[in-house]
């Protein structure tokens, strides 16, 4: 017979193994993303120099020669790959084609700041509001709130984010003139620590944040509701009820904590969705974030920017997924045993 102590030791060991496995898997995924990033931009048919550096009269032949040197574009593909790996390791993606002399990564990092302001704000709202709606809907299952919130969730789930953003502009900018329709600050202003700037920032943030939040609330409330409804059919809930606990206690102590498990994964995985959703919002509102920059880069064939943004987003999402996986190992014993 196992003593409690032995079981604990066994669990610690198996959870350590599970975590090691997750980390290794994430590293492999990251490596594959790096390879994909190389192949996407190099192995398309045609002259690699022409493909990586588009025909642009503003780019001088000397500069092209320098780029060819830096990225080894005149060398065979496998040597190019090693040059690329080295460059990626030192986070060098080359200069932006539209602003020669500025490294693409610097530009993307500046834009990332704005994206984080936007997605950070709306993430807080969507998690809190979405989960609350989900819990109430599951608790009062089949009631008016459940049906109403389900209809609301599905309606906004089915709505393209960019279209919702356009409708917000029509209603609150053109119609009611409450909030400005574009950019992150009034034109000419820069981000400084002052009250006026903060108010300006907030006024510009309201509509983009709403467009991002409302669309994503649905994902949270639907999954929270589904998870909680699932948990409510479990036998231990019946047991808890049979013990004579009130409905509120059953919900608070037994159902919600267990239903939270999928939410942990969702919150992390939703980062991917947030970045995807932020793309559309940023484009419609001309919000100078990473999504807006990426879309601009596709128009001007600004590949270094595209590559840097792709890499940065992939790293962020892989990292978020890893954290979610590790948390799950600690929170859910079943995951531990599987690994």
């Amino acid at each position: 017979m196992r003593t409690v102590n032995e079981t604990e030791v066994c669990c610690v060991r198996s959870s350590r193994r599970a975590i090691t496995r997750k980390i290794v898997n994430s590293l492999i995924t990251l490596f594959l993303v790096i390879i994909l990033n190389f192949f996407l931009f190099r192995v398309m048919p045609g002259d690699p120099v022409r493909l990586v550096i588009p025909n642009n009269p503003r780019i001088s032949p000397e500069y092209i020669a320098q780029m060819v040197e830096e990225f080894g574009l005149d060398q065979p593909l496998y040597l190019q790959f090693f040059t690329y790996l080295k460059n990626t390791l030192f986070l060098e993606f080359g200069d932006s084609f539209t602003e020669l002399g500025t490294p693409a990564l610097d530009i993307v990092l500046v834009k990332l700041k704005w994206t984080l302001i936007l997605t950070g704000t709306s993430s807080v709202f969507m998690i809190v509001i979405g989960m609350s709606i989900g819990v109430i809907a599951a608790w009062r299952r089949g009631g008016r709130f459940d049906t109403g919130s389900l209809a609301f969730s599905l309606f906004f789930y089915a709505m393209p984010t960019f279209w919702f953003a356009m409708m917000l502009i029509v209603m609150f900018s053109t119609g009611l003139k409450w909030f400005p329709p574009d950019s992150a600050l009034t034109y000419g202003n820069t981000l400084v620590w002052s009250w006026d700037c903060f108010v300006d920032l907030l006024r510009h943030l309201v509509l983009p944040a709403i467009s991002l939040t409302v669309g994503s609330i649905a994902a949270f409330s639907l999954i929270m509701r589904g998870s909680l409804v699932d948990v409510m059919t479990e036998e231990y809930i019946t047991t808890a009820r049979a013990k004579g606990l009130t409905e509120g206690r059953v919900l608070k102590d037994h159902a919600v904590p267990n239903a939270m498990l999928p939410m942990v994964a969702l919150i992390a995985i939703d980062l991917a969705f947030v970045v995807g959703g932020a793309f559309q919002t940023e484009v419609v509102f001309n919000y100078p974030g990473i999504g807006w920059e990426t879309v601009e880069a596709t128009y001007s064939k600004n590949y270094p920017i595209l590559q840097a943004a792709f890499f940065l987003i992939a790293v962020a999402v892989i990292f978020a997924n890893l954290i979610a996986d590790v948390l799950m190992v600690y929170l859910d014993p079943r995951v531990r045993l599987e690994g």
Partner: protein
């Protein structure tokens, strides 16, 4: 001895089957078809009781009619409106370079190219449905194939396939779509949009199918089939595929909704086919933004195509959830 004869008769049956006319089906085949018809009837009975599912089906049927009979519908509308003829979506009817507000001739106005917005909205249904359906077939096919192989083989091949799946699962769909649409050779076209959506969307299907295959593999009936000498291909075809298919099917309806959303987003960003060649709701909305319709009071130009996207996506979502409930009996009790 008797078992041998039965087996011999069975194999003879199988040999003859392809040559036979549909009139003279063998006994087991007829029995199978009878069971299938019964199953379909049962499914329909459960489906009829599902109000959301029916609503979805009605919405989708309306859009299907809109897509198939677009020219006829325009003709009928021209009688009602007293226009000279049923408008074509690529016919220059209004002033070029200047969008016009709604009028009795053009109920939703004309866009900057002089095209009638109502006609374009109605014809736009065609591309949405086409892209939604074909892209879903591509991504479901790819995902099911990878999931089946990965789950069935196991071992290092499973590892390799799953790591590749992870890459596609991890990268945000819109980012991957934008990069693919920019970098794939050839100009923007409907085919390319379909390909991009298909390549982007297969990974979650692969995961679901793999999980299902893994749980099936541990069941005793697979073991039994193996022990009497069934080959891999036979087991996949006869035992695994039929059990995975309902899951994939319900899921694919929801994927159609996502594909349609993806298509409209791609077109909106300007990575879809040109508005001069193909009408989609996405590129109508892109046109509207370019013409600053949000600030010029041309609201119907934005409202109507957008609502069409919402409705068609809702239709597929409703239908998908209803089918999910039918094929996952555990959900039905709720």
């Amino acid at each position: 001895m008797s078992m041998m004869t039965v087996a011999a008769a069975g194999s003879q049956d199988a040999k003859q089957e392809p040559k036979m006319r549909p009139m003279a089906l063998s006994e087991p085949t007829r029995e199978k078809m009878r069971l299938m018809r019964k199953k379909i009837r049962q499914t329909w009975r459960i489906f009829k009781g599902n109000r959301t599912g029916m609503l979805g089906l009605i919405i989708l049927a309306s859009f299907l009619i809109l897509a198939v009979f677009a020219p006829q519908i325009m003709t009928i509308l021209s009688w009602i409106g007293g226009w000279s003829h049923g408008y074509d979506p690529f016919e220059v009817l209004g002033p070029e370079g200047q969008a016009t507000p709604p009028s009795s001739e053009h109920w939703l106005g004309t866009d900057r190219r002089g095209f009638d917005i109502l006609a374009r909205t109605i014809y736009g249904t065609r591309v949405s449905l086409e892209v939604g359906l074909v892209a879903t077939v591509v991504s479901m096919g790819l995902g099911s194939f990878v999931g089946l192989m990965s789950g069935f083989w196991g071992g290092w091949r499973d590892e390799v396939l799953m790591r590749i799946t992870d890459v596609f699962l991890v990268i945000p769909w819109l980012v991957l779509m934008i990069v693919l649409a920019t970098l794939l050779p050839g100009g923007p076209s409907v085919g390319k949009v379909i390909l991009v959506i298909g390549i982007t969307g297969w990974s979650s299907t692969a995961r679901i199918v793999r999980a299902q295959v893994l749980s099936l593999k541990s069941r005793s009936f697979i073991e039994r089939a193996k022990s009497i000498g069934a080959g891999d291909y036979y087991i996949v075809r006869k035992h695994i595929f039929p059990n995975v298919f309902p899951l994939v099917f319900a899921n694919s309806i929801l994927t159609i909704a996502l594909s349609i959303l993806s298509e409209s987003t791609l077109s909106f960003i300007g990575l879809g086919p040109s508005p001069r060649l193909v009408v989609t709701w996405g590129n109508m909305l892109e046109d509207a933004v370019d013409a600053e319709a949000m600030f010029n009071g041309l609201y119907l130009w934005i409202l109507v195509p957008g609502l069409c996207i919402v409705l068609i996506v809702l239709g597929f979502t409703f239908l998908g959830y209803a089918l999910d409930e039918i094929f996952n009996p555990k959900l039905r009790k709720r």
